[in-house]
Each structure stands twice: as C-alpha cells, then as structure tokens.
Symmetry: C2
Subunit: 273 residues, 2 copies
Amino acid sequence: MTWKMFGTAEPDVLTEQFRQCDTKNLLLRSLSAQDFALLAPHLTRVPFSIGDPLSHAGDAIDSLCFPEEGIAGVLDALDGDHRYAVGLIGAEGFVGWPLLLGNSRSPYDVVMRAERGEALRIAAEHFVAAVEQSVTLRLSLLRFVNVFMIQMGRTIVSSLAHSIERRMARWILLYHDRVRDDDICMTHEEFSLMLGVRRSSVTDALHRLEEERAIRAGRGRITVRDRAKLMRLAADTYGHAEAEYRRLLGDDRGLSLRPASHGQDVAVATSLG
Amino acid sequence: MTWKMFGTAEPDVLTEQFRQCDTKNLLLRSLSAQDFALLAPHLTRVPFSIGDPLSHAGDAIDSLCFPEEGIAGVLDALDGDHRYAVGLIGAEGFVGWPLLLGNSRSPYDVVMRAERGEALRIAAEHFVAAVEQSVTLRLSLLRFVNVFMIQMGRTIVSSLAHSIERRMARWILLYHDRVRDDDICMTHEEFSLMLGVRRSSVTDALHRLEEERAIRAGRGRITVRDRAKLMRLAADTYGHAEAEYRRLLGDDRGLSLRPASHGQDVAVATSLG
DNA sequence: TGGTTGCGGTACGGAACCGGACAGAGCCCT
DNA sequence: AGGGCTCTGTCCGGTTCCGTACCGCAACCA
C-alpha cells in the first residue's frame, strides 16, 4: 500500500490520483494542499536508469520532472565535446525550471546520475496552467530556482579558488544529500568529466579523502564514512546553498535536506512513516 | 530636455514621472506600455560611483536597480576574504532578482564596476506589487533571470575548461557589451580578484591579447580594438547567453546587446535618437 | 619640485594539474 | 575456469599557474 504500487509502468493518468503524502519529492510535499491539488491530477510517476536524459539542451521543454529517487546532473557543454556539471538536483527540487522563467527551451542537458531513479512528471501545459493559478505555488517553485542559482554560484567560486580534493569533497556531499544510503555510484571517469579534471586526478583526490577516513572507495562506488570530516574538508564550498534551502523552503514546513550532523534523514523518514 | 535633467540629486518621486523613452535600461524599454506604467511612478534615478554597493550579501533587499549606465559586478565571497565574479549586469537587466524568486535577502554582493554609473531604483514593495499585478511584466523580468543563469553556467564551464587568456577575452567582451565606448576602466588587480587569478597572470594575459591586437592596454584602462578577434579568442565561452537574451527579450522588440559584428551599438543608438 | 602612492612589468622557484600511457585488479559472460 | 572488458592505480614529462618579490613608472599632491 505504498507508492511502489504505481512504480513500474506508466498508468493512465486519469485513473490514478496522487496524495501528497505519497510522494517523496520534498518540494511537492512542502506545498499547501491546495497548491498540490493543482498539480496532482497531472502527475505521472516514471522510472529512470542511469544516463537517461531528463532534458536535452536546446530542446523544447514538454514536461517537467520532480525527482523522488536518484540524482539529476545539470550539465553544460562547450561545442559538444565535454560536458561539465553546473549543479545537481534531487528530491529537493525539480527539473524544467526554465519554463517558469519564461524560457520554453532547456539551456542544459539534465541526466539521471543514479542507477535507479524515479520522478513525477507533469506535462508543460498543465504545469504552466497551475503556476498561473496560484501565487504561492509559483513562489515555492521559484524559491527552489533561487537556491539552485546559489548552488551554481558556489560551483563557480569553488572551481576558481579550491583544489580538486576540496571540490571533490563538495560534490560528494551534494550527492550524499540526495541519496538514501551512504553509497554513491559513480566511476572516476564520470567524476572527472563532470568536474572538468583529469581522471587520474580524481583517483588521487579520492585517495587523499580515503586517507583522511572521510570516505571508502570501491569499484564504481564511493561510500561516505565520516560526513562531518567531509564537511570540514569542503569548508565554505558547502553549506551556503543548503542553509538557504532550509531557510526558504524547509524550516516552517518540517522539511530538510540531510541534516548537518551525520545520520539518516530523520525528517523525511518520520514524515513518511 | 534629456533625461540628464533628473540626474544628479534624488528628486521627489511623486513630482517626476519617467516616460519609457527616457530610460536607457533595455529591459524597461522592452516592456509594454502598460507594464512600464506599473513601475514608472516609483522609479528614481540614482548615480553610482565605482565601488558603490548595489546590494550586500545577506542584507534584506529593500530596493531594486535597473542600470542605465555602468556595470554591476555580481560577486560571491568565500568566508569573507576574496570575492569572485559570478556574473555582470548592465543596462540589459536589473539587480535584485532574488526578490522575484521569493528570496528577500540578497545572496550576493553587487558592486558598481564603472567610474560613473546610473540606475533607476524602485522600492521593493512597489516592485512586488507591480509584478503581482502583471503576468507579462513578471515574465519579462524572469526571462532576464533565466539569461543570467545561463551566463553563470558559462562562467562555470569556462573556469573549468579554459586558460586565463580565453577567460579574460570573455570578461572583456561581457564588459564591452555593457559600456558605450570601447574603454573598460579596471586595474589588473581588480580583474585578478574577480577572476580568481594572480594579478600578474592578468598582466600576462592582457599582453598576449595585446600582441594579437585585440585590445590596447593603458594604465587602469583596457580599450577594445578588434572585437571580432576577441570573440574568436573567447571561442564558445562567449555568445550563448547573449543569443538567448536576444531570443527571449530582444528580437521582437528591436532591442539587443551589442551586435555580433564589430561596431557601435546601432540598435540602441537609433532607438534613442 | 620632490615625495608618496598605487599600478604595471618582470622574474624565480615551486605546486598543482594535464595529457598520455600502461599495467594490474575487479567484474561479467560464456 | 578462462577471456574480455571496464575501472583503477601509477608513472612520465610538460605546462600552466601560483606565491612572492622587486623595480620602474605614472599620477597625484604639497
């Protein structure tokens, strides 16, 4: 009797109606009941595999996704060869925000970066109709856009000012915030492409983080071992955007990203129970 | 009988009423007459000197600025020491967008980066009231926010992928787009702080650009000499955000940033005549 | 006119990181 | 068990860029 019953196939939208407590997307859960009701009739749960595109740079945005499980990497490309990560989006946000900003075409590639992802999808026309009806709905979604901009700003300054090791610590934390357990499924090669560094530089940086006992590295997997130490290593590259998220979208609604101290995501776990 | 009559002191808001053709801010000019009328009664023209803050990180946003002359540098700080540029805003946009995104506090320092700046200022409460009244007004402003996000994304990938020389070419173009003549007033020291590189690296990069005859360098000033060559040197770090601006806010209203080819800003000049 | 200050040019050693390459180690498939 | 593949660990020289320092020059001011 959990949401899993909707999981695999795409059901006829009209026959299913999501309840707000059925979704694991924090942004949707933070909405008022009325605002959620504007979106709910048009939501469809869809599965994603690693590498699946959620949106493609230059294409028209015909639907938006509210991730429930997994991580969406937002990538910008230079002339089509390498693609670099400008940010990450998980269950705390949504993909397709340019539509909210009056741009019907996606400026970025957005790609599922976890082996098993799930998202609630809504068609663009229904989305636009809903946000035009409700000021508060629009505001909640725009607040997430604001937080994402802050995350991008941090990406800029950390890439300008800090070593690969510190930036790695930051990205691992960004991933860790958005997965259930402590495992991050990603190869050094994928990390290197997203961070814009050499593959073996990733290897070296991970070794140093491992020596510090902050993580454990396996083949195609990184396990967070000491989150507090990672945060110390990431220093001021991490935490600002997350605090803004809590301030703007979290506090008064009992939601949060993974809490500052190490541990399971209590807020989500209890509110799901 | 030009707008200059309003220039120096701050006049009593109620006694002056801007006409749309009186402003040099491209965003305001692109609005419909009705949308402009919502803002106009509350606009005040204010002068800025180099270094003047338009907004301070963490502070409440009590007013917004639509630049007419000069350039606003958007800076993010790490723990208070160095500040790094994440983007530039001139007459094509406005400062204070977080308010539009449901955030009443500025995430960034915004500082005037030209010796003589001017902007139309509006109090936050009047701004909010106006954008809540008009969907089209809100959309135009949000479109600018969208373009600014794209500019930030480009800042990320260029800082990850490209040499100082190329990134310098990009920033010079970003400045050049936003000033009337071909002179950019900035010391190597200021450039180095904003780009997050060593001061003498700026000197070296400028020398190389000068050898290519793309610019001329003077004391505290850089003069654009061959814009086309600068664009070739900047490669794909420049042009994407600008094209999006034209697509979303320019084409159908006869506005544009400095055109792709070398020359004076014809569109603005003629529409002002 | 001469001092003061800030800006620009230059130099040097060292650190970080790159590009490329290669070998071993883990994993899957047959 | 063995073959093939991907991922990881490691090494090389070379380059970019940093940190620092020093000096000359321009602008400003008394």
